[in-house]
């Protein structure tokens, strides 16, 4: 690695300058280490410096008129110049390789960047790598158990290898302060020690103390810099002011400095009040527990101590702790919700993506090989003039390096974009992040990712440059000088034939599954709502006060919203635990075979609606009747199904009056029977393939059964423009007037929520299409290059045959039989592979409408082989026998 860096620094620099620069870097490195920076930080710094210096060197070399002369001092300017010329002279090769390598590197670097930023990121806090999380793992349920208030207290009191053990609980509430628009905010209810763990002092006032957590203490809050800046105009008199969370007033006692968002991405901190004597063991809030490794302790020694404490707890409280194994984890692991198995899967994915790049590199190698073959004469002359094999191999390596560098930059940029989107999706997925990035997430391309990409470029260049070069320079001596005449004498070994076969087999085996995935994604993307989505605004409404009935307040909220002139309808959906079942669906009176056919049917959605739902959404009841209040009050009341359900489960026969239930599973008995009282229009429609729309079952809910709902308000005209006119604020005010303890989240125009979901789908579809196109392009290009090269090899042989009287048919037959054998073997192997992987994916690839894909790809490969062989074969037939023999 060191040598690689030193070599890189030669680019565009004289030797004394390079030596001095390395000396400066060494001096600075030692100074940093002496100042106490960690080795990792110093390594990251020096890597970034070297990459920066390389970029400057390249820039200078290219900008200066004497650039090439300087470059020659480094890599050998002539090599780079020659490589650039060859790139321009072979635009086809350049474009194909650029696209392929760029896509390969984009995918691999995106994966790497995402893993790096999410799976074990460095915390930007003082000795951040010594902050750890403690968590109970339930070995029976195979999941984490965060109801660990009692264990938290035990760990805090007994552990010596982890100190300052603290905990936080995620909460959210509607925040009101002065004249501001009420806003739903996320709050960290954190034990006082949490601030000490972070080692960041308050900017103003103080942070929380253990006294604040006493039951009788007045409620206090510490706010973040952003809140202080945006809500309080950085006023120093903010201390002592009050803000309300729900209906409770909290006094501001401190402001944290800019950038502080510990424990995740929080801007409000209140004391964690949880009294273990009032809460049963194994119950209470979900806590994230963390602390700092004591000086001298390691994760391993802490784990040993924690395991002993865990065993004692299991013996003392077998009912709650017998299956719990406490673990010491890196701080971000529980927050990112990453289990070891997932990490393994992701690392496996990383390996697969790197393999995709290697497949691409191999293909570039084939293309370069074919080109190298035409330059045998040139190589021979250089050898005759005294160039060593190493010199020539290094020249070809540099050619491949130059070919890979530009696509690597493109790929890095693309990959970075994908990482940013991936991080956004992660933040949206995890409740504890509340849709925003955590404080440890660094933006921009990380030095480690750049280093990884540099490694990939080196590997790609080694495969694409050195492999063909070694092969081309294997036979040495004057015999190759004959190639100057224009013909080539390189023979393709078994390795290259095997490559053609592998290439075709890979395409036939894997591409149909990828195409199927891509088509499914695109089909899903085309699914459109069957209701006027542009008029709808959605919000989540819940209560913080469970003592007074939610139902009445919800009805009052609906009444007041409906009274607004802009509003044309208000409805809500919610779910009852006892009705929220998934599983195989059985319909009474439908033959067992029919029911069995639904086995494994995914995507059946079930949810509770109020009686106005279908009206507000503008969905017609096409048979039977709508749901009413009686359906809601009866425990096993009727359901409405949609058209898609009726078509899929009842084969179009009348659904009304039949009964359906969720079949028994090994863990639970069957659900009660529910009568189908009506059939409604589908919620969504798909113009291309109606089958994509999943069936839906609606049951009736009434407000008094719920503690939280998804509210939908239909507005007159465009929801977007009403939102711009301040509808969200109006809704919050109405909510506050009904009851300050009600909480409203995510007030958004429905189509906005929809487009955020669509973004993820689009991204997956885009990535898949990129991989697909690249692999197909490369397989075809690789097969074409090898085939046409093989046939070119035989030009003389064909010429002689023709001279000796062979007919054109005979000659063509001999050419194509070889093509047929290689492509045929590839197709056969690929078909076997496709059959082997078919059971691994739940979707059918080799049957149904997409059964055509596998033969189509096989046929494409055969066609590519034939076209590749045809051109050179036809040219060979036109060779004059004298011309052919002259070469010998």
């Amino acid at each position: 690695m060191k040598r690689l860096f030193h070599t890189l620094l030669r680019v565009g620099r004289s030797d004394d300058e390079r030596v001095s620069l390395l000396g400066d870097l060494e001096e600075e490195r030692r100074t940093r280490l002496a100042r106490g920076s960690s080795r990792l930080a110093v390594f990251a710094w020096s890597t970034a410096e070297i990459l920066g210096a390389l970029a400057w060197g390249l820039r200078d070399a290219l900008l200066r008129p004497s650039g090439y002369a300087r470059l020659r001092q480094g890599f050998g300017g002539a090599d780079i110049k020659l490589s650039l010329r060859l790139l321009i002279r072979n635009p086809g090769l350049t474009v194909v390789s650029t696209v392929g390598i760029a896509v390969g590197i984009a995918i691999a670097s995106a994966m790497f960047g995402y893993i790096h930023s999410n799976f074990d990121p460095a915390l930007p806090l003082d000795e951040g790598d010594r902050i750890v999380a403690l968590e109970n793992w339930d070995v029976e349920g195979n999941n984490e158990n965060r109801h660990s208030l009692h264990d938290f207290v035990t760990w805090r009191d007994q552990m010596t290898s982890v100190v300052e053990i603290s905990a936080f609980r995620e909460a959210s509430a509607t925040m009101r302060a002065g004249d501001f628009v009420p806003e739903t905010v996320r709050i960290a209810a954190m034990s006082a020690g949490g601030f000490r763990v972070a080692r960041v002092p308050a900017l103003l006032g103080r942070y929380l103390t253990p006294d604040d957590a006493r039951e009788a203490a007045p409620p206090v809050v510490v706010i973040g810099y952003t809140v202080w800046q945006t809500r309080f105009e950085q006023s120093r008199s903010v201390l002592g002011q009050q803000i309300r969370f729900g209906s409770t007033p909290f006094t501001i006692v401190g402001v944290m400095p800019d950038g502080f968002a510990f424990p995740v991405n929080h801007q409000y901190w209140i004391p964690l009040r949880a009294n273990p004597s009032a809460i049963a063991r194994g119950a209470g809030p979900e806590l994230f527990v963390f602390g700092r490794l004591a000086p001298g302790a390691t994760m391993a020694s802490a784990q040993v101590e924690l395991s002993v404490i865990g065993q004692r707890a299991a013996a003392a409280f077998p009912q709650t702790n017998a299956t719990l194994k406490p673990q010491v984890l890196s701080y971000t692991k529980p927050i990112n919700d990453i289990q070891d198995a997932t990490l393994g899967a992701v690392l496996m994915g990383q390996l697969m993506m790197t393999l995709v790049l290697i497949v691409i590199a191999l293909n570039v190698a084939i293309l370069l090989y074919a080109r190298t073959a035409t330059r045998r004469g040139e190589i021979a002359v250089r050898t005759a003039l005294g160039a060593s094999r190493g010199r020539i191999v290094s020249q070809l390596f540099i050619e491949a390096l130059v070919l890979s560098l530009v696509p690597a930059l493109l790929g890095l940029a693309l990959g970075q974009y994908a990482v940013e989107i991936g991080n956004r999706i992660t933040a949206l997925d995890l409740d504890v992040m509340g849709g925003a990035a955590p404080f440890w997430l660094e933006h921009g391309i990380q030095p480690s990712t750049m280093l990884y990409v540099l490694g990939l470029v080196a590997v790609t260049a080694a495969i694409a440059g050195i492999l063909p070069a070694l092969h081309a320079t294997r036979r040495r001596g004057g015999a190759d000088l004959r190639q100057l005449g224009g013909s080539t004498g390189m023979r393709l070994g078994w390795m290259w034939s095997a490559l053609i076969i592998a290439q075709v087999a890979f395409a036939v085996a894997v591409l149909p599954a990828a195409i199927k995935l891509g088509i499914n994604e695109i089909r899903t993307y085309l699914t459109q709502p069957n209701y006027p989505i542009e008029e709808l605004v959605g919000a989540a409404v819940a209560t913080e006060n469970t003592s007074s009935p939610f139902g009445n307040r919800l009805l009052e909220l609906r009444r007041r919203l409906q009274a607004e002139p802009d509003v044309t309808g208000v409805t809500f959906t919610g779910s009852l635990p006892q009705r929220n079942i998934t599983g195989r669906i059985e319909v009474e009176g439908i033959a067992e075979e029919g029911a069995a056919a639904t086995n494994g049917m995914r995507g059946v959605t079930t949810f509770g609606i109020d009686s106005d739902y279908l009206d507000v959404y503008g969905l017609r009841v096409i048979a039977g009747r709508p749901l009413n209040a009686l359906d809601a009050s009866a425990g096993d009341g009727g359901v409405i199904v949609d058209r898609s359900f009726a078509q899929r489960f009842l084969n179009g026969t009348s659904a009304v009056g039949r009964r359906m239930r969720y079949a028994a599973t090994p863990n639970r008995p069957p659900s009660p029977w529910y009568e189908i009282v009506g059939v409604a229009e589908n919620l969504r429609r798909n113009p291309i393939d109606p089958d994509v729309v999943g069936p839906t079952i609606f049951y009736a809910v009434s407000p008094e059964q719920l503690t939280g709902v998804s509210l939908t308000v239909r507005l007159r005209g465009s929801a977007a423009s009403r939102m711009n006119e301040g509808f969200a604020r109006k809704a919050h005010n109405i909510l506050a007037a009904v009851d300050p303890a009600l909480r409203m989240n995510e007030v958004r125009a429905s189509f906005q929520a929809e487009s955020e979901d669509a973004l993820a789908v689009r991204l997956v579809a885009l990535a898949l299409s990129c991989i697909l196109v690249t692999v197909l392009l490369f397989s075809a290009a690789g097969v074409y290059a090898l085939m046409s090269f093989t046939v070119s090899q035989r030009r003389r042989e064909i010429g002689i045959r023709t001279a000796l009287g062979a007919s054109s048919i005979n000659v063509l037959r001999s050419v194509f039989s070889r093509v047929a054998v290689q492509v045929g073997m590839g197709v056969a192997l690929g078909a076997l592979g496709a059959m082997a992987i078919a059971p691994l994916s739940d979707d059918v690839v080799l049957a149904g409408r997409l059964a055509i894909v596998t033969p189509a790809i096989a046929l494409t490969m055969v066609l590519v082989g034939v076209v590749a062989a045809y051109g050179p074969a036809r040219r060979s037939l036109r060779i004059q026998p004298t011309e052919a023999v002259r070469g010998e």
Binding site: S20, G23, R30, G52, W56, D60
Partner: protein, 104 residues
């Protein structure tokens, strides 16, 4: 007419003027960090120095190898008289431009 200088070139030349005989990569960078609050990379500094040397505004010479630098020699850099003239001219231009302009 004196040579045209970019902003970073001016800063580097000023660092050289300030450091006198003690100017080399590390000290130039430290001076820039302390006085401008920027964190230029060594690559940027070396690239600028080479450009300035090409214009004849600075001159460089190799020092003795040192253990603290892994046995590598320093490349000392000093201002040439022409560099001093260019720096003076650039500074005067800034002062003239700023005359009578309120930046408050």
């Amino acid at each position: 007419m004196a040579d045209y200088l970019g902003e970073f070139e001016q800063l580097v030349l000023l660092a050289l003027a300030r450091l006198g005989d003690g100017a080399y990569g590390v000290t130039i960078r430290t001076t820039l960090i302390e006085r401008t609050n920027r964190r230029p990379s060594f690559g940027a500094i070396y690239s600028t120095l080479r450009r300035l040397e090409g214009k004849g505004l600075v001159r460089s010479f190799a020092g003795e190898p040192e253990a603290v630098r892994g046995g590598r020699a320093k490349k000392h850099v000093v201002l040439t008289p022409r560099g001093r003239v260019a720096l003076r001219a650039a500074h005067a231009a800034v002062v003239r431009m700023a005359e009578g302009v309120s930046l408050k």
